[in-house]
Amino acid sequence: MTKDIVIIGGGPAGLAAAVAARDAGAKEILVIERDEILGGILNQCIHNGFGLHTFKEELTGPEYASRFIKQVEERRDGIDTLLKTIVIDVRAEGDTKTVTCMSKEQGIFTVDCKSVILAMGCRERPRGALNIPGLRPAGVYSAGTAQRIVNIEGRLPGKNVVILGSGDIGLIMARRMTLEGAKVHAVLELMPYSGGLKRNIVQCLNDFDIPLRLSTTVIDIGGRERLEYVVTAEVDKNLKPIPGTEEKIECDTLLLSCGLLPENELTEAMGVKINPKTGGAEVDESFETSISGVFSCGNVLHVHDLVDFVSEEAKEAGKRAAAYVLNTVPARSTNEIRLVPGAGVRYTIPVSIRKERLEDLLTIRFRVTDVYKDPEICVYFDDKCIRRQKKKIVAPGEMEQVILRRQDICAEENIKEIKIQLE
């Protein structure tokens, strides 16, 4: 089989990329999804709050996904989808990319294409992240697994629950398990702040009087076959448990919500350069990775907390991939400007830009390293500060962005570096 663009992953990122690529004129687009339905992780996120930016209304996850699935259905003249098919390898040799797939019906087969969009999403940090030696009784789940069990299969994994990690999925599951009749004893967070959205802390914990204990972790769990208790302890500045603060909580279920990791095994195997800060590919202004014609967007690029931004980013990647296959974009010159995270900034997307490939506006997304009150977000062109923007508060849990104009970047003769920094 040959195609113009193969998109790996049929979640919101893959779907938005497909629609945008089609609208930009690409004709032979194939979306490959390992699940039996399109929509990705949104299918299990049945709570509402999606789409405020994109559709100006509050949708649930499946409703948000269905909007994009519909857009794909309306473009069947150019977009094909393969379900229950997993991509196991991608090779790039010159202009041709070879995607190796596997499905029950067709066995192993390959698709050749000009461009690949990586949209595989992320998965949860494995439970190894929980550094507890010894027993592994039943009743310990990742929060996302529990979400699938409750929301898709309609079963309740347990009745007495402790949640470790206050990321959004953990918070959402605290409410969900409570509404299904379970008792959630506490949500524990190792850090002195929660990584979750304020709205979720208020509506998922405070509404149900579920305590959030910051700077607290689980140091031991017990139970023979099924979990019977966890032992918690407060931690000091260096995240080490403080002796004497131990507390035993009886419970049959421990949910781990310890963060998400981009799913980049395929990306690494094909030799794409990975940004160690995000765990995702390094991309330029076109969401193009270090291999020409290979693009990346959505959670596989960097972990998002709002699906609206995923869709926005994926749309751009789809458009750029279409331009690549239609040959309407200048090839990458060596004249790149690097984007550098300065003080207080953990990473930026993109990591490099080329003036001749910029659109009118360039959106730079980034995350900060810590909670800062009243910071100024500063943009430097080499050593010159060209913008200061006051903010009331920034936090690692909320993605930030600055938007620059092409004309401002192009007005400068020889910039080598654009730095984003907090002051």
Partner: protein
């Protein structure tokens, strides 16, 4: 007079609001601790008539081991969240389901409808 401490969810600032009020009397509400008008409106609504959307699942009778997701439209009073969630256990639908299908009208007298949020073929 009653007093309530709330966290405003209007923006990431998360201002801590102190709301003084007489039960059920919107004119009596005094919000302090807010940085902007949004916080005052949020604080007032939260003590006078807090509302929430309930999302959950109901059984699909003709698909074993499958549930379908639902939500209340419009939002229901906050104190009805638990009763409505419990009521979901007594309900069921048949596949195929379509987004927007009504499962129950005026669920538990809240004036809100329970709608399907997922297509199951």
């Amino acid at each position: 007079m009653a007093e309530k401490i709330l966290t405003c969810i209007g923006c990431p600032m998360g201002c801590e609001l102190t709301v003084n009020y007489t039960e059920g009397d919107a004119d009596s509400v005094v919000v302090t601790g807010n940085t902007c008008e949004k916080g005052r409106i949020y604080g007032t609504n939260e003590v006078i008539s807090p509302k929430r959307t309930v999302t959950g699942t109901v059984n699909v009778v003709n698909r074993e081991g499958t549930v379908v997701s639902v939500k209340t439209v419009p939002e229901i009073p906050k104190d009805m969240v638990i009763p409505v969630s419990e009521e979901l256990n007594n309900l069921y639908v048949e596949a195929p389901t379509h987004i927007g299908d009504v499962v129950v009208r005026d669920i538990l007298g809240t004036g809100s409808d329970l709608l399907i949020t997922k297509n199951i073929i």
